[in-house]
Symmetry: C2
Subunit: 358 residues, 2 copies
């Protein structure tokens, strides 16, 4: 197992990546200085059926009493109602301040369990064991936790860093194809914004990655996490550098919202958003046509959508784009590329964006 360190002063923590990390979870906790008497494993029913007992066993081996709190799979569990049920179950499990919550699952479980850990008894130790590509390379690391409100996604939440992240790439082999691929969008994003070499490597290794070769998956997750760790270490609360992680997300979010949640998976919308942002970059930040097409080809090699959907110029899309939180004074803050691997932040008018994508 390889260890990556997220440096955040007294909130620093390590990330363990490997092919046997799940079964060694108890050992990882001890190595991180965590010796809770009780552990509540929050997971959804899909993940529970596959990995719940193994996680319990691994944690019990290390001397903790582990109990599973199961929630329904899917975005509906990112709600205040589901959160309230998690609180009830934490109380039933008699968790106290010295105990720990483990989030075993994808982004929804990580966000829900993370927020519960952040707010139960004003904060108990949180361990993330992400089981999707998206969660392993992105959402498990960085401390964003929360639930949705009818008015907006992630409206209720907290920045709360985990004490440890355990990424076992072997669990990625049981992911459905579409869910696996959407995670690749965030991997490609790290290449686009900070590591042109990663774009090359992914272009070569994509067939092996899609075949879920463990060695390639390990390298892919590790490289991604190192980039995320660098960004988070420099900007815990998204006040500066961390904005570059929004590359592809401005248009991506607007597509997700306007198409109705569920039409696109998050990573699919981000893939389209990245191709669009690259087009805009060609016009406004000097990205070469060669770099743009390298990015587009890689996204297509990952079997991710790259084109704006027919009728994208409709009202809901424009409204969603304009309502994006990053808007200021009629302009929209955009993360653009100068080259593959180098970003620049620009404010653009809506018309300029539309012209560039058209």
């Amino acid at each position: 197992m390889a260890g990556i360190r997220v440096e955040l002063g007294s909130n620093s923590y390590s990330v363990q990546v490997g092919t046997d990390a799940l079964d060694r979870a108890g050992e990882c906790l001890r190595a991180a200085g965590l010796t809770p008497r009780r552990i509540a494993i929050v997971t959804d029913s899909n993940v529970n059926a596959l990995y719940g007992q193994r996680a319990c066993q691994a944690l019990a081996n290390a001397g903790s009493v582990a109990k599973i709190i199961e929630v329904a799979p899917g975005e509906s569990s990112k709600s205040l109602a589901a959160l309230e049920q998690v609180y009830d179950r934490l109380v039933d499990a008699e968790l106290d301040r010295s105990d720990a919550v483990v989030a075993l699952g994808g982004g929804v479980v990580g966000d829900l369990a993370g927020f519960a850990a952040a707010t139960y008894l004003r904060g108990v130790s949180l361990v993330q064991i992400p089981t999707t590509v998206l969660a392993q390379v992105d959402s498990s690391l960085g401390g964003k936790t929360g639930v949705n409100h009818r008015a907006a996604k992630n409206l209720i939440g907290a920045f709360y860093q985990p004490r440890l992240v355990i990424a076992d790439v072997t669990v990625l082999t049981t992911l459905r194809e579409r869910e696996f691929r959407e995670g690749l969008a965030e991997v490609i994003k790290y290449g686009a914004i900070m590591d042109a070499g990663l774009i090359d490597w992914l272009s070569t290794e994509m067939p092996a990655i899609l075949a879920r070769d463990h060695a390639r998956l390990t390298e892919m997750v590790e490289r991604s996490l190192r980039h995320k760790a660098t960004v988070v270490s420099n900007d815990e609360r998204e006040s500066g550098l961390r904005k570059i992680l929004n590359f592809g997300h401005t248009i991506g979010h607007a597509l997700e919202t306007s198409a109705g949640y569920g039409t696109y998976l998050h990573g699919e919308a981000v893939a389209i958003g990245m191709v669009a942002a690259a087009q805009i970059s060609c016009r406004y930040s000097g990205l070469s046509e060669l770099d743009r097409s390298r990015l587009e080809r890689l996204i297509e090699a990952a079997a991710l959508p790259a084109r704006m959907p027919p009728g994208w110029r409709n009202d809901p899309f424009l409204r969603a784009l304009f309502l994006d939180k990053k808007r200021t004074g009629g302009e929209i803050e955009f993360v653009l590329l100068e080259n593959l691997g180098r970003t620049v932040i620009r404010r653009l008018k809506l018309e300029d964006i539309l012209t560039a994508i058209a």
Copy 2:
């Protein structure tokens, strides 16, 4: 107005104490570097009727659009249901990340609004304008926020520091007598644990304080806040020094719980708890009988209860005492006094506690 600084690195903030602080709230915000476009003032209907419009006006003067979010008075508003309503109202008011929440009220409002501010959009600026003695000298400062769960008080919450605290002592003149007096228990506590001179001063000035003389109230609130600021600055998350603030609270909490919430106000239970803890201190940490009786006489001078209620040795009290979160291995962690102004933390067996109070 006097300014007190709470030093917490990047979470540092100032506390403004004075007799015209409420009307100068907008000015205080600007001086603290806060220039929100929109402000949501969370308050209860009692406080709103007295001070809501003045607060709105003061904040509008400084260029912010202020809206009032009114909740029901009393502990019932420290609930997930009330919190959800506050979120809805914050959405309706279109608060964004650069805006602010003001908590205008006592401990309940401060805890509820504070937790809403901590978790709305992963945290917006929070300003505390406490309107009770308890909130002014204690709960508004230190960052403890949260709501109750059926299983326990404050079970759901977060440490979230305000950006500014504004304590206007003139609002204390409209408090009901009993509510005013309960706050004095926490003032006396600062004297007992860290400032024997404050005990002397309070003993002399108690008649003027009970008559709510503005100059004495200002000095009292300021001295208390300086002590709280010192403790919080040294221990943001209650891992060490901050424990001394629990003086009188172990027995106090057990009394509150076993008598049924509402029988005693928090400060009343703490007053009884301090006298009991002083008795225990005489036996286990060398407190002199003279110091013990000075403390007891001051509590009586503040017209606060000092004696354990008849039948206190009943089962619910013992169970509550034993279930206190600070228990470990059959013993209970107790904050005791060596002298007035100097504490020591000891672990005691339940029998020893009971014998000492008897």
